[in-house]
Structures are given as C-alpha cells and as structure tokens.
Symmetry: C2
Subunit: 418 residues, 2 copies
C-alpha cells in the first residue's frame, strides 16, 4: 500500500507509489514499466493523471492542499476527496451508470482511482466546438432527478437523510468557495473579482439593483439551509463528459445537502453561457446550434420532470407526502407533485441567474466567453448573459414554462446593452 | 460521582445517588437527610424531580428510555438529554436569562440538574385558570427572535452553523415524534390517533382536503429540510413557565435545526387553542381574557419582528445578506429584511395550522380542551380550532398582518361547525 503521509503525486513517482495498489493493478496490470502517465488536470483544484498500460487505463485524481487556480495562498483541506468519494458512491447507487466507477480511495493521500472515460470529452469543449451530443438532456435530466429524489426524504429513511446531512455538513471548505464566489463576490467589489473591460456599466446596474441583490440572498439562504437532497454542487458543463451519444457526470467534490433545484440551475446557467457565446464560435450553423442548446435546456427540464414524477409514483417511500395521506385514501397526489415541481423550477431559475453572474464577475470564469480573445466582441455577449441572469433572479416566480424561458433568452440574445 | 450504568432515579434512591455531585450540593448542601424529593413529571417523556433543602432547591430531570405517555412499547433513546443540554447552553448564550440555569449534566444517566424556577407555573395552567402574565409576549417574542437570529447564518460563522447542524442531526428519535404525530398522523387513520366524539365530520373534511394536505407536506418539507436555525422544536404553552411578570422557556429536547418560523407557529397554535377553549373555562371575564390572549399573539409577533430587525441592523455578521452587499454600498437592506420577515410570518401560519390539528387529532392532546369533560361542549370548540387550522394552512400566503389573523380567529370563534 502507498505511504501514509500525504504527498502530491508526480508523473515520475506515481508508478512507484501506486504499484502496490491492487485495485489499480487489477485494471492496468503490474508491469509499471509499461505504464504511461499523463497529467491532465485542467480544473482549478486538483491533480488529475491518466495512467495507461496496454491492458487498460485509469484516472488517478489527487486533491492538492490549496486552490490550484490561485496557488498556496488559498489553502483547501484535503478532506474533499473523502466527500467526493462518498458523493460518487451515492450517485452510482442512485443514478446507475452516470458517474465514473471508483476502483480505490485513499483518505491519507486524498486520492481516488477511477474509471477512465473514453472517448468522452468535457462537454464545455464540445459546446465551444459546436458538437452535438445525442441524449444529453435525457442523461443529465435523469441524473438530476434520480439523485435529487433518491437522496431526499421523499425516498430514503429519514435517519439516513439525517446521517448524510451530518456527514456532508463536514464539507465546510469546498461549499465555502460557492458561498463566496457564487453568492457574494459578484455583488460587491471583492478582491478576487475580475470582469471584461467594457462591462462596468452592467456591473453597476447589477450592484445597484437592491431588489435583485435581496433575492440573490434569498437563494443563498436556500442554498445554505434548504437541505432537500444531496446535490452535486458544481454541475456545469465542465463537470460533464460526453461521447457523441452518452454523457457522464464527474467531479462532485462540491457535494452538499441543498435545495432540489440547485444542480439544475447551475447547469442551465452554463448552457445559457454556451448559447450567448456561440456568435463568436460558430459560422453558418449558428442558428441551428444555438437552437440545439436551447432545446437541451428545455428537454433537460422535461426529462427531469418526467423522471422525478415517475419516481414520485413508484418510489415514494420516504416520510414526505406519504401514500397513507393520499393514494391510500383514494386521493391523487398529482397536485402536490406539480406544486413541488413548480417550486423546484422557480428555484432553479434563481440559481441559474446567480451562476450566470458569477462566471463573468467573480473568480473562475468560463471558457465559453474567455476563449473570445477580442474583448470588444466578448463584452456585449457577456452583457446579454448578465442581464438575462438579472431577469431570472427577479422574475423566477413569474416564468412559468421552458417556453417562456427560452423566449426570454432569444430576446436577450438580440439586444445590445452596451 | 454517580454510577455509570443508566438507571432511572426514584424518590428513594435519588439522594444517595446524587449526594456526591458537587454541582448539586453547591446549590442545596450536603446534608441529604434534609433533602426533600418530589416527583413532578407531568410531561410525556421524562422523570422530573424537585429536590429541596433548607438552603435551596433544584430540578433533576432524567430521560426515560421510552415514551412515558405510551409506556415501554415505545422506546426512545436516552441521548435526548445530551441534545437538551446542548440546546439549553446555546439558548442561554443567545437569549440570556430566558432558560433555566444548568448546574450539571451527566450523559450516562441522561440527567440534568438545573435551576428550580419558583414561583413560576406552567403557562398552560395559567391560561386555563385565566391568569394574565405581564411581558409574556415580549419575553417569548424576544426569545424566539434571539435564538432564531443568533443560531443562523445571519449571525454565526457558517462553520459553526454547519457544525451545529451536524450535531443536532444526531437527534433523530425525538424530532421523529414531531414528524409522525404533527405532520403525518392527523391526516390519515393512524393507530395512535384519537379525537373527541362528534368531530368525525370535521376529520372527514380535513382528510378530504387534498390541497390542504399537500400544503401540510410542503411545511413538513420545510420542517425537515430548511435548516435556518436551532429551533426549540416544541414551543407550546407547556414549555413556558411564568410568574405574573416573567416568562422562561424550558424543555428543548425536541431541538432541531429548522425553519425560522417553526417555534412561533407552534406557539401561536397553542395560544389559539387556549383562546377557543376559554368559553368553557371562564365566566364574566371571558371576552376580556380572550382578547388578552389574542393580544399576546399579536404582540409576540411584533416583539419578534422588532427584535429580529434590531439584530439584523446590529449583529448581521454571518454570511447571508452581508453588509458588503448592502450598507457598505450605501444601499438599505430594509426591503430584504421585510421580505425575509414576510417569509417567516407566512411559514409560521402554516406550522400553526398543523399544530392546531395534531393537538386534537393525533396523540398528545392539550389540557386546554381535555379539561372540558363534557364532550358535547368540547367538540364544537375543537371544531373551530380545527377549521381555523385548515384555513391557516390554506391561506398562509394571503394573511398579511396580525390584524387579519386575529379577525379570522374571532370569526371562527363565532361559528358553529357541527
């Protein structure tokens, strides 16, 4: 087994340090001379290696004790690998086949060995390249519905829910990133903020909108307090890997018990940013591809709604909305379901708007916009995104359908805010 | 020190078993021959002794391993004393002077030694006897505001909030009583239910109101998931002890992280039950005393609102609604505060309606009604209470002020539902 004291892996020492890990050699063989190690961590927080041999390949992911994007001035506890491990095992059980298989977890080394997804690519890259993914909406919509429903008091025994809430409440430092970067920093002049030149007027509009800021804090309260279910916590297009027909969800280290609509909202936001940025990434097929992205948003919600409803009717064994109170008395629970789905929908729009703000205003921007080198062309697109975000935060209770939502996006896509 | 193995205290063995507890003898002296022990537990769950000596008096409260009201067929873990202890220390720090002082806690014996409140009487008894309590609304309204605000992400460092959420998530079995008896059993034909003869038609109305039942489950979801703050968890008039001018809050063993409005809602419900039952307890002064109860409700809310607002302006140091986002930018946060208070108000009405139901329909009824021996006179009063409860659940979002609420109560107090 590998040594106890935490030490970051390197391309050089990885084979020697992991050669005794049986769960790994089961996958790629014991002949370390044939191992090929590549560092591919393009995220903000971790070391990620692909380790290949003639007989197979695995991903080795190791947490670093600081935020990689910022450096060792921002320390970050290694325990996040522990929470990622627990999140992955639960997601695997609740939404079979949607997350990478875990072969091995080592707590001291904050290290996971897991399935190498191939030929999957990060969805964000595909969206920038204009590649379509069949079944994307269904795969991810179902993932959201299954993890939401099956991690909640609609399904689990409540002692299990309380146990998991307590477990994941230990994940303080990683959700703290969301608390700061997503829900707070965009709305004041925070140290690590940055935005594209030309956006000052939009930033001012947003920071002067007191009603909107109050609503962001209402959603912040929900994020922090409303512990409906185990959320992925960071479900953007960089946390989804796809072939042309299949999608998997990765990187749940921001796992937290949170509101049902949180993951969906983050996801919608990242699709909207892909949507608005397309003008600079596409040629002739712009309209077709933008429409496809909007369809993905709409179908993700439909797929969520359908799957959540199916589970409601077939797996509602938790303490909330018990059948004793409805079906067993000959009463339909459908209106209760619709009312809950409406609540999830509305909240997802609020979270969506906030995520659209933070990706242009605080730290950790999106490649969708960042890859547009010409700032004078980037700024107006980010402005559309920021202004739609504001609208969603303000009107989350008034937007009744995916149709209304997509029409709003189309409208903002044609406006000039600068 | 007392022996390790849990054993219920008796009047006979208490002096011998506790004589070595210094924190107790500091209060009442070491001469056990002069101790006078009385068992006064009139609640549903615990042993409660008053231990007096010429030099002082204390309360000794010990958890029993089952629900006292039901017997050993309903086991209940002793760990609740541990949660009560942690709740009491936090309440003492956050709302100084409103809870009994703790002298000693022993985890193995599930035992607390605490201040003997005298000449305090249980508020429910005073309400049945028609006694007024000066400052009741202010004392309890402030208690609710201070514990709500200071236990939340509005005030505490969020790592502390998460730590306490995890801690109190361990209190599974006691909130489970609330989950069953309050939020579920009233709405179906549960085993332990009972209601006064003559109420069948009202029970039928309630159980057939699918929209209302769906709303009860919305509030159940909030109770379970929306962990705004540390709630007392069982704040009825039997959990308040008063002199003619001073009120203290006792018995927080149902402590749970829950929604801001939960304690207020439970409290309002118990005041409404006192209100409706008065007709059978009072003579000439009926109207005066009923009006006083309604005033207490109204002033409890005003006092909560005022204190919560004061704390908002002076102690808002948590991560939610940060000053960096409002005051530091020259923006008032008052609208955000009002919106949050409206949310708390609306939710408290929902919880109120549900508590009004459970106290007449499931296990553990209230003395306010139970002391009315003539069932034909009791039933119509409980009917008013049940029907107002239903209205509050259905209309919690439409009742805008304490005035509207009290007018509704007066209207139902004049109606004949049977």
């Amino acid at each position: 087994m590998i040594d106890d004291k935490y030490e970051p892996l390197t391309i050089q020492n990885l084979p020697k340090r992991l050669m005794a890990v049986r769960e790994l050699t089961d996958q790629i063989g014991q002949n370390v001379d044939a191992w090929e190690v590549k560092e591919v961590g393009d995220g903000n927080l971790n070391l990620v290696f692909i380790v290949k041999s003639p007989s197979g390949a695995v991903i080795v992911k190791q947490a670093l004790p600081y935020v990689r994007l910022v450096g060792d001035s921002w320390p970050l506890p290694l325990y996040r690998a522990y929470f990622e491990y627990h999140a992955l095992t639960r997601q695997a059980a609740r939404a079979e086949g949607t997350v990478p298989k875990i072969y091995y977890f080592n707590s001291d080394q904050a290290l996971l060995v897991m399935e190498y997804l191939t030929p999957h690519k990060i969805l964000r890259e595909k969206l920038i390249l204009g590649e379509k993914v069949e079944n994307l909406a269904t795969d991810v919509g179902q993932f959201c519905a299954r993890t939401a429903f099956r991690g909640s008091d609609l399904s689990l025994d409540t002692a299990q829910v309380k146990n998991d809430r307590a477990l994941f409440a230990g994940n303080v430092a990683i959700p703290a990133i969301t608390e700061a970067l997503v829900f707070t920093d965009p709305y004041f002049d925070a140290n690590m903020n940055n935005h594209t030149a030309g956006l000052d007027v939009i930033v001012e509009t947003i920071r002067n909108d007191v009603e909107m800021k109050a609503r962001t804090q209402h959603f912040f309260r929900l994020y922090s307090a409303q512990q409906d279910t185990m959320c992925h916590g960071d479900l953007h297009s960089g946390s989804i890997m796809c072939t042309s027909t299949e999608s998997k969800v990765i990187d749940p280290e921001f796992v937290t018990y949170g509101p049902f609509g949180f993951d969906l909202g983050m996801l919608f936001a990242n699709y909207f940013m892909a949507f608005f940025s397309q003008i600079e990434h596409r040629g002739d097929n712009l309209e077709d591809y933008q429409n496809w992205i909007l369809e993905v948003i709409s179908e993700t919600w439909s797929s969520f709604e359908k799957e959540f409803s199916d589970l409601w009717h077939t797996e509602r064994t938790g303490m909330l909305y018990p059948k004793t109170m409805f079906e067993d008395q000959g009463h339909s629970s459908d209106k209760a379901l619709i009312s809950l789905l409406n609540d999830i929908w509305r909240n997802s729009l609020g979270f969506c708007g906030i995520e659209m703000h933070r990706r242009c205003l605080s730290l950790a921007h999106n490649a969708d916009f960042e890859r547009i080198d010409d700032l004078e062309r980037r700024a107006p697109l980010e402005a559309r995104n920021l202004m739609l975000g504001r609208d969603l935060i303000l009107k989350s209770e008034k937007i009744r359908s995916t149709n209304d939502l997509l029409n709003l996006a189309r409208k903002f896509n044609a406006e000039d805010f600068l």
